[in-house]
């Protein structure tokens, strides 16, 4: 295999990797503020794609349809927390996690009823031939995916590191009791983290649909990939989620290059299990959470 071919595989890996990164970031945000895994995260990705198609078919220009889909999915995320999880928030993590699984099934069924069972698609964001980089072709849509993913990650990082609300989110992820003693409304922080996670997933669904198409049942698969990416990078660590998602995409793509495409989907499961056995804190995680 020559270097141009290898680069081509790497580009493909970074393409799916950027989607995994967005979904992993959603897992990470929710885990950080609540300590639970939200198994409906993949459905938010699905809603992003499906709603974009829906809004575009309703006559909106593509960018407006995409932004609307992201906003509406974010609201769905807020409502998901407020009406499904908050009433049982004292019931313990296991009950809450099972509620997210139930919620994901409900979202999926409703999506099937609302949008039908067909594969749906969106046009590419910009037309034109692929850009050639060192002998490898990069589709313009991939540039959009990377650009918008990077924008979302940078925006989130700035909010996290520099704003009052970001500090409140970090305080919550370290200790709910300590955060409440500072006057932080932890219930609101938890709800907003679900909303942000949903919006990030929806962004992934919107940007990837022109390349892959979408349907009501894409959520579970991408949810698993995002979860594996989050574990790979270290749950609760936003930077880790991005690194983990990209790394998982690359691993998948390289496994196609060097082994066989048959095992592509198995890679994420192998990575998931290997990380849980060998390094449960993830690549960028600390051995145990730093607490004082």
């Amino acid at each position: 295999m020559d270097s141009a071919e290898l680069l081509q595989f790497a580009i493909a890996g970074l393409k799916s990797g950027s989607i995994y990164a967005l979904v992993a970031l959603g897992f990470s945000l929710v885990y950080g503020s609540t300590g639970i895994i939200n198994f409906a995260q993949g459905e938010f990705f699905m809603l992003g794609g499906m709603l974009s198609v829906f809004f575009r078919d309703a006559g909106m220009p593509l960018p407006v349809a995409g932004v609307s889909a992201i906003v509406v999915t974010g609201l769905v995320g807020l409502a998901f927390e407020r009406f499904l999880l908050r009433p049982r928030r004292d019931a313990g993590p296991l009950v809450l996690i099972i509620i997210t699984i139930g919620g994901s099934m409900v979202i999926k069924s409703l999506a099937r009823h609302a949008f039908g069972g067909n594969e749906l698609s969106l046009p590419m964001f910009s037309s034109g031939a692929s850009v050639m980089v060192a002998g490898a072709a990069v589709e313009r849509q991939a540039l959009w995916m990377w650009g918008l993913t990077a924008l979302a990650v940078v925006a989130l990082t700035v909010v996290h590191a520099r704003t009052r609300f970001g500090r409140a989110m970090r305080a919550c992820s370290l200790s709910h009791d300590a955060a409440r003693l500072m006057g932080i409304d932890t219930a609101k922080v938890v709800m907003v983290s679900f909303g942000l996670a949903a919006a990030l997933g929806a962004l992934g669904g919107f940007v990837v649909t022109p390349l892959t198409q979408t349907s009501f049942d894409v959520g579970a698969r991408i949810g698993l990939k995002g979860f594996a990416g989050a574990i790979l990078g270290g749950l609760g660590n936003p930077l880790g989620a991005v690194v983990g998602g990209l790394a998982l995409g690359l691993l998948e793509s390289l496994s196609i290059a060097f082994i066989s495409s048959t095992y592509k989907d198995a890679i994420s499961l192998v990575v998931l299990l290997a990380m849980l056995f060998i390094r449960p804190q993830g690549l960028l995680g600390r051995a145990s959470r730093e607490k004082v």
């Binding site: 500090r167 370290l174 300590a178 409440r180 932080i184």
Partner: protein
């Protein structure tokens, strides 16, 4: 005492499930007053403070803050009413810097409130080491510095009453001295302080009044001088003191 106390606790019961821990405690703390709670491990001191700060709901009784009934209010509301707790074990945000911990402490206030910067300066004047370590993560501080940060962080909400749970635990005598002289200064500025302290002798020396908590009830109360002079208190809680006095 007068009925216009800053914090007025009356017949408070607190328990976990069906296990009663605090059983009918009444006490009060006025402006510029320091009150100490002493008692053996398991007497219910920490549980009482947690209930007063809103982390645990009392099962009966009432808590009044500056004339307003706040029984059962959550901590995020009590902070806004002017009550702050420096919790047992400090509960700092370890990976966050000293400056960020102080900023989170001011969460209830408008970000552009010029008073926030004033209070930060005041905290740094009270504990100068916090200014030196502003950009270090809280987890890298020594135990004494962490306790100073925990107190400073609580002060950033500009409380009128401060609850402290074992501020001297595990600290060197020199550091304990610095912390208690800071508490003296805060009290002189009008802050009401309710203190739970293992080192009863030290705490009573700095306090106006004290209460002895035994099995969830107030067994004894009085001025700090009375308690220090009381034979039972001397024998049980100030035991280590006999040899040196």
């Amino acid at each position: 005492m007068s009925s216009d106390a800053l914090l007025l606790v009356s017949g408070l019961h607190v328990g976990y499930g069906h296990v009663p821990v605090v059983r009918g405690v009444s006490l009060e703390v006025g402006t510029g007053e320091m009150v100490t709670l002493i008692g053996a491990n398991g007497a219910g001191k920490s549980t009482l403070l947690k209930a007063l700060a809103g982390l645990v709901r009392p099962s009966a009784g009432s808590v009044t803050l500056d004339g307003e009934d706040v029984t059962g209010a959550p901590p995020e509301r009590l902070v806004r009413k002017g009550l702050a707790l420096v919790p047992e074990g400090r509960m700092l945000f370890g990976p966050m810097t000293v400056a960020e911990n102080l900023a989170v402490g001011a969460h209830t206030r408008r970000p552009r409130d010029p008073g926030v910067a004033e209070d930060r300066d005041r905290v740094c004047e009270l504990f100068p080491v916090l200014a030196e370590r502003a950009d270090q993560s809280a987890a890298t501080l020594s135990g004494g510095e962490q306790q100073m940060l925990a107190i400073g962080r609580a002060l950033m909400s500009r409380p009128r009453i401060l609850l402290l749970d074992e501020p001297s635990l595990g600290l060197a005598p020199r550091v304990i001295g610095a912390i208690f002289s800071a508490l003296d200064r805060l009290r002189a500025d009008g802050l009401g302080i309710l203190l739970v302290e293992q080192d009863a002798k030290l705490a009573l020396k700095h306090s106006d009044r004290g209460h002895v908590l035994r099995a969830g009830r107030i067994a004894l109360g009085g001025s700090a001088e009375e308690l220090i002079a009381n034979d039972d208190v001397r024998l049980i809680y100030l035991g280590a003191w006999h040899g040196t006095e």
